[in-house]
């Protein structure tokens, strides 16, 4: 039987995984450690029952992006993100990643809501963790903060504006002096 190899990202870590069908079970190694897994499909691409060395787990694929191998999985009443790449794809990812500009922080709306007010002006210097904007959702006001120290480049929304989840709100450019002090 043929062995397939994948690079799997989970909780910020990379794991080397191999999969091989052995009779009724799957032999799966994670960073070299082997597990015998019996899988029963309750609904294709949705719900599986797994017996991992006899331990029983009901697992659900909550979100799936087959193209990019990105999944949100429910297991033991917890949800977790997993990214599965085959070896070639993983290399391609690395190259793309290197090109990402690390000197920029883009504050995006974590949920749909209404912009209450900006807490900083364009051109203002902000420290890491400082509030940039107040967003209201579900009758609660939430202060959103910058994850880097730097200078506010642009505020892309107006007070009172309704925004969708993922909308870009504020851009902050890393300030060399701030970065140097850190």
């Amino acid at each position: 039987m043929s062995v397939s190899r994948y690079i799997v990202q989970i909780q910020g870590e990379k794991r080397e995984v191999t999969i091989e069908l052995r009779g009724q079970r799957w032999a799966i190694t994670i960073d070299g450690e082997m597990h015998l897994v019996e899988q029963s499909v309750i609904e294709k691409d949705e719900h599986y029952s797994l017996l991992i060395e006899g331990q029983s787990f009901l697992v659900d694929l909550i979100e799936k992006n087959w193209q990019d191998g990105e999944f949100t999985v429910n297991a033991i009443a917890e949800q977790i993100n997993v990214r599965v790449r085959d070896e070639l794809e993983a290399v391609a990812d690395e190259i793309t990643r290197a090109n990402v500009d690390e000197g920029l922080f883009v504050l995006k709306a974590p949920m749909p809501g209404i912009v209450v007010r900006a807490l900083a002006l364009p051109g203002e210097t902000v420290e890491k963790g400082q509030g940039l904007l107040v967003l209201e959702a579900m009758k609660m006001q939430n202060e959103l903060v910058t994850e880097i120290g730097g200078i506010v480049q642009e505020i892309e929304v107006k007070d009172g504006e309704m925004v969708e989840a993922g909308a870009t709100l504020v851009r902050v450019i890393a300030d060399d002096s701030t970065a140097g002090a850190a």
Partner: protein, 508 residues
């Protein structure tokens, strides 16, 4: 003379609308739901027999529009309205507008709403009735000199409170004379801005307070009973998250003392219907009247479970003019109940509200589980309203049993697609102080640390295996498909080739 309601409009949404409709359906009384534009697919719309659109998105545009709700009553022929909690449930104008239309408001008389709606009026009324209130000023205080004189009498620390405030807003603790001037000014300004009423009064500040409330029920024939207490000290920023009945602090003697006082409070305002008298309890188990909520509480189920009652049914009965069936001596308390409020918020990201579609919902069931829910799988949680999704209420023989059942239930409970505070509940269920029943209202704010939320160590491995297997099998299927597609493509080209050949031949 007792009325029979022909049709009841439920002027609310979410889990409480479901809860109220469930009792109405049980009594075979036809129901009417109302809904905003964004609530067209909310479950209360399906659960009622009739549903009437209000239009609008925000509460102000929909569930708070008195004239639209009156219209919906007229249109549907509803002869009574249950307001639930929140929205218009404690709104004097709404109660009056319904009365004018001859529609029964399932709640207390307007006078009771009025008095209890203002902290100063309520306080004065209670003092007159001989109820123990927290030592403090008899009326509003605006002069810092007067404030300091009162503070000296009461003893620092004191609390400045806006008369029209609520929900933890418009309050400020003052620990000495030096801070009084600025604190008084700031509180009055804030009160004026937030509640259009800058009246502020002074109360002794109770350190390490516990919040314990008594459920009362009164009919129009002068009968008032209480149904025991609820412990509501587990709060996050003045928002209750876990409530229980009985309170680990309250013994039979204290229960009957608090209960009798709560009945006195209700009598003092000629109360009718379900109401809750909130008490603040200090470290020496002294209790003081705090306020009265003139409606059904979110946490009413814990009382229903321990007393074996249906409070919504009782509300309907007394609203129809019937006598209370239950006398005080018939009220039996048995077992233990705890309610866990399930909010759409992420405890690991500063309790940020979360919205989205419920991608997967797996509800706990079995012994001792009651799930009062306002969601379903595929439901899109809107951003406009309160983030309360549902309430998991656990009943058991004693507190330990309930805690064990709750821990177990949360291992069964899956809400995916929207972040919830379930991990927070799992954290609190592991805290020793909580398990000993020793938390005051500051406990969460002082002790919660998102980093302490524990995750099952098996999850990453199981998820990794499941996702990799799924991806592997999916790719195999795709490969098979593409092989087939290729074959099809080939045969198409063959066909084209043949046609070309034919064409060629015919043209040659």
């Amino acid at each position: 003379m007792a009325k029979e309601f022909k049709k009841v409009l439920v002027a609310n949404r979410g889990e409480i609308a479901m809860r109220v409709i469930r009792t109405l359906r049980k009594l075979e009384i036809p129901t009417v739901a109302i809904y905003s534009d964004v609530d067209r697919q909310a479950p209360h719309v399906f659960f009622a027999e009739q549903a009437i659109p209000l239009g609008g998105r925000t509460s102000a545009e929909s569930y708070l529009r008195i004239e639209k709700i009156i219209d919906a009553c007229r249109q549907s022929g509803a002869d009574a309205v249950h307001p639930g909690y929140g929205f218009l449930s404690e709104n004097l104008e709404f109660a009056a507008a319904l009365a004018k239309e001859g529609i029964t408001f399932i709640g207390p008389p307007p006078e009771a709403i009025d008095v209890m709606g203002n902290k100063l009026k309520a306080r004065a009324c209670m003092v007159a009735a001989g109820i123990s209130v927290i030592p403090g000023s008899d009326g509003a205080v605006s002069d810092p000199v007067e404030a300091k004189r009162l503070a000296a009498e009461i003893g620092y620390p004191i609390m400045l409170k806006a008369a029209s405030g609520g929900g933890g807003k418009g309050m400020r603790v003052v620990r000495g004379d030096d801070k009084m001037d600025s604190a008084l000014r700031a509180t009055r300004e804030e009160a004026g801005k937030s509640f259009a009423d800058d009246a502020v009064f002074i109360e002794r500040y109770v350190e390490k307070p516990r919040h314990i409330e008594i459920q009362v029920m009164a009919d129009t024939h002068g009968n008032v009973i209480h149904l025991g207490e609820r412990e509501c000290s587990i709060q996050r920023r003045h928002q209750k998250v876990v409530e229980e009945c009985p309170s680990p602090l309250v013994d039979d003697e204290m229960r009957s003392q608090m209960g009798e006082m709560a009945v006195q409070v209700a009598r003092a305002v000629n109360y009718v219907g379900a109401g809750t008298v909130e008490f603040i309890v200090d470290a020496d188990r002294n209790f003081f009247f705090l306020e009265m909520n003139t409606r059904l509480q979110v946490e009413h189920p814990v009382t229903e479970l321990t007393t074996c009652t249906d409070l919504v049914k009782m509300q309907l009965e007394v609203a129809a003019g019937r006598r209370l069936k239950l006398r005080q001596e018939d009220v039996q308390h048995r077992g233990w109940a705890m309610e866990f409020r399930i909010y759409a918020e992420d405890p690991e990201a500063g309790f940020l509200p979360s919205t989205g579609k419920i991608a997967l919902l797996r509800e706990p069931t079995g012994p001792g589980i009651r799930h009062d829910s306002g969601i379903y799988e595929k439901y899109e949680v809107p951003i406009y309203y309160d983030p309360l999704l549902s309430k998991l209420v656990i009943y058991g023989e004693n507190r330990e049993d309930v805690i064990q059942r709750a821990r177990q239930a949360f291992t069964e409970f899956v809400i995916a697609g929207v972040k919830t505070n379930i991990p927070f509940h799992q954290w609190i269920l592991k805290q020793e102080a909580f398990c000993r029943g020793e938390c005051d209202t500051h406990y969460i704010d002082d002790h919660f640390d998102a980093k302490q939320i524990s995750h099952d160590a098996r999850v990453p491995q199981v998820a990794l295996i499941a996702a990799t297997l799924a991806y592997h099998q999916h790719s195999r299927r795709l490969n098979l498909d593409s092989v087939q597609t290729e074959k099809e493509a080939q045969s198409r080209w063959k066909l084209i080739g043949r046609r070309e050949a034919v064409s060629r031949r015919s043209t040659i």
